[in-house]
């Protein structure tokens, strides 16, 4: 069953959190990032073309204009395929693992799966980001050498950057499932 709520990210933009529960130990959180705005796209294109036109009037070579068109097209394609993330998903399956998926604007999806045996805990951390202090959710991985240590910290929802209220909801759900998993793995 699916529940959708509206939150905001650290810049004040609108984020939609979709929460699905497939089973008592399997939950999915889908965070939709703000879309590419027409205003910024137009601004970038106009800047590039103005610069190209300025160069053209200087050197009278029409190659500059064609090059500007190429650069704009390739830049836009590259941005949509490699940079702009549309949606971030966190799927947590008790006793199997945690999966994080980022889907880009061009449709590409990049997935990381962490097995439950490697997950130590899911926590909310503070970080200094530019001139702000922000909260972020992260997964702590176990250290194979030292049982009490943490080998890696994997941040979640890196490009959406939701605020604390959204993070708290995701955190509570994850902790429920992790607690269940600890109980079941403890019993024979």
């Amino acid at each position: 069953m699916e529940v959708e709520r509206i939150f905001s990210d650290i810049y004040g933009g609108r984020l939609a959190l979709q929460r699905r529960q497939y089973s008592p130990f399997c939950r999915e959180f889908c965070l939709g990032c703000p879309r590419l705005s027409l205003r910024s796209l137009t601004a970038a294109t106009c800047t590039v073309w103005l610069v190209a036109y300025g160069l053209f009037t200087l050197c009278q070579n029409s190659m500059v204009l064609s090059a500007a068109i190429f650069i704009t097209l390739l830049g836009l394609l590259g941005y949509l395929h490699f940079v702009k993330i549309d949606q971030e998903t966190l799927l947590i399956i008790g006793s199997l693992g945690i999966q994080m998926t980022s889907s880009y604007a061009s449709g590409k999806e990049s997935t990381t799966f962490i097995e439950m045996g490697k997950v130590k805990d899911v926590v909310i951390n503070e970080a200094i980001y530019m001139q702000k202090v922000i909260y972020y959710l992260c997964i702590l991985l176990k250290d194979p050498v030292e049982p009490q240590g943490v080998s890696q910290v994997v941040p979640v929802f890196q490009s959406a950057k939701p605020r604390l209220d959204c993070l708290i909801e995701v955190y509570r759900s994850c902790q429920e499932i992790l607690a269940l998993q600890k109980v079941t793995s403890g019993s024979p």
């Binding site: 497939y22 399956i93 006793s95 997935t111 799966f113 097995e115 045996g117 109980v183």
Partner: protein, 621 residues
Amino acid sequence: MGLLSGGAAEAGQGQAIPAGLLGPPRSRRLQPQGSAPRSWIPTMVLKVFFPSCCSSADSGLLIGRWIPEQNSAVILAVVHFPFIPFQVKQYLSEVQKVSQVDIVVLGTWCNNKQEKEENLGKFLDDLGTIFSHEPWLQISKEKGSKFWSCHTLSRQADTPTEDQVILVYYDQRKVMLSRLHPPEISLDNQPGVITAPDASKLAAVFDTVAKSEVLFMTDRYDDGPIKLTHWQSEGVEASIIVELAKQASVPVCMLLTGLLSLVSGLCKSRIFKFWPVSFIWSKLSTCEQVRYRLEHLRFVFSNQKAENQNQLMRKANIFVSLLVDVALGILLLSWLYRKNRIGQLADALIPVADHVARELQDLLQWLMGVPAGLKMNRALDQVLGRFFLYHIHLWISYIHLLSPFIEMILWYVGLSACLGLTVVLSILSDIFALLTFHIYCFYVYGARLYCLKIYGLSSLWRLFRGKKWNVLRQRVDSCSYDLDQLFIGTLLFTILLFLLPTTALYYLVFTLLRLLVVIVQGLIHLLVDLIDSLPLYSIGLRFCRSYRLAAGVKFRVLEQEEGRPLRLLMQINPLSYGSVVQTYRLPTYSCYPKDTWGSLCKKLFFGELIYPWKQKGDKQD
């Protein structure tokens, strides 16, 4: 034993399944209502890995491996009715012996293509008593519904605990052919047995499927007592070309190994140990590259089979790299020998050498005059300038002497392009070094002169201050000099000091020229390195068959229904191109800078000769 006749299969077809086996959830499994998990009693979660090729198989027994530490069952195949339990057990023990994987009967699979059947339930329960396994799985699928049921029977538990089941579908063919990166270290040592408690669960699944290859060798056209369904049951995959290549490879390898040992024997013969030849041999980068490629050829065509996956990939990478190299070389060859381009190149070479010599002469004339407004010591200037000018004159005469033979030499040298593009690039680098040999000579003369001057100056400066270098103690000590020693020392110091700018300028100019030549050579070597070390076969594999190189897995949640087990689809997450290149890079004899920037500057200041690229295997200076 009487159960198992042809009649049982027909009996199964036309009878209804008892309602207790399928249908709505039973009361002893508490279903979670909404998001209030506190009312739900947590139990152990059972994971069942089911191959998607068996989804449409007829009813039968499930065989596979049970991993108790992870509470998961990996199903490898379905055994169909009719069968004799004794024969099934025998077959499984044979398979266990060959594959080292603990394959047992895990449960029953019921695919109801017609209406519900009744007696099948009791029949399946009876099977549970014959093949005892804890826990006993019962997976069933109804006609027209995509949701399956999975129940577990546990005979040992006193209180009936209900397991939550996760059904994970996996593509057996892809999982079998794929290789997980990074490989778990424990798996290499003890195949089939996971000893570390926190070993990767997925690595265990991959390992199980990969090692059960012998199970997948029987297809349904074989006349055996056991009828299986798995990914190859429609017919074992094989390719005629691959089989032919395997047959042909043995004599070819033997022949090539013989040839190669002959060639390397020739190379190691006594002729090349004599001083001039061995010296030239070690300085030419072409010889290094040819030797490297010879090593590769020997490795690829050796008679031993590859021991593990790593070696196989390395062999394949080297083979493809060699092929591409030779192909590019032959392409270059065909381009070069068309339209008499060699002749054109030879004709252009002498004027270029002349032009370089003329530029150098102009430079020396400039230095002999008033370079950049600096006032030089006239006598020293003239001596050095005339010395270098004469050197250039000699060089030009030699080049002109060689000019009728240049075209023929180039023609024969160009033929070596069929050995590969890397060899051509190395030859290019060597020709460039030979053509700029006089710059190297000038650099050495200038550096030695400058070095002598600097050491003389520092020693006389110490004398000027009344100190001496103690060679025994490696430190500066005070020393009392005689008056005439001091007088001559001061005189020499003054002379050397005032001659310093002239020598320093010559040294600076020739060092810059030498550094330019070194940078060009370095770039060519970088290109050769790139072609040598790029793992083309792995990149091609990642592009065409991306499931072969797996970085991990990804799960997709399929449609759910309340009360049914959770259904997931497991797909392979391929390795990224960057990791492929990093993991499978071929080792090269790469050149890397010997000195840090600081020590390089120090050497330049003191006039020590610099050899900026150090190759692996070079003795320390």
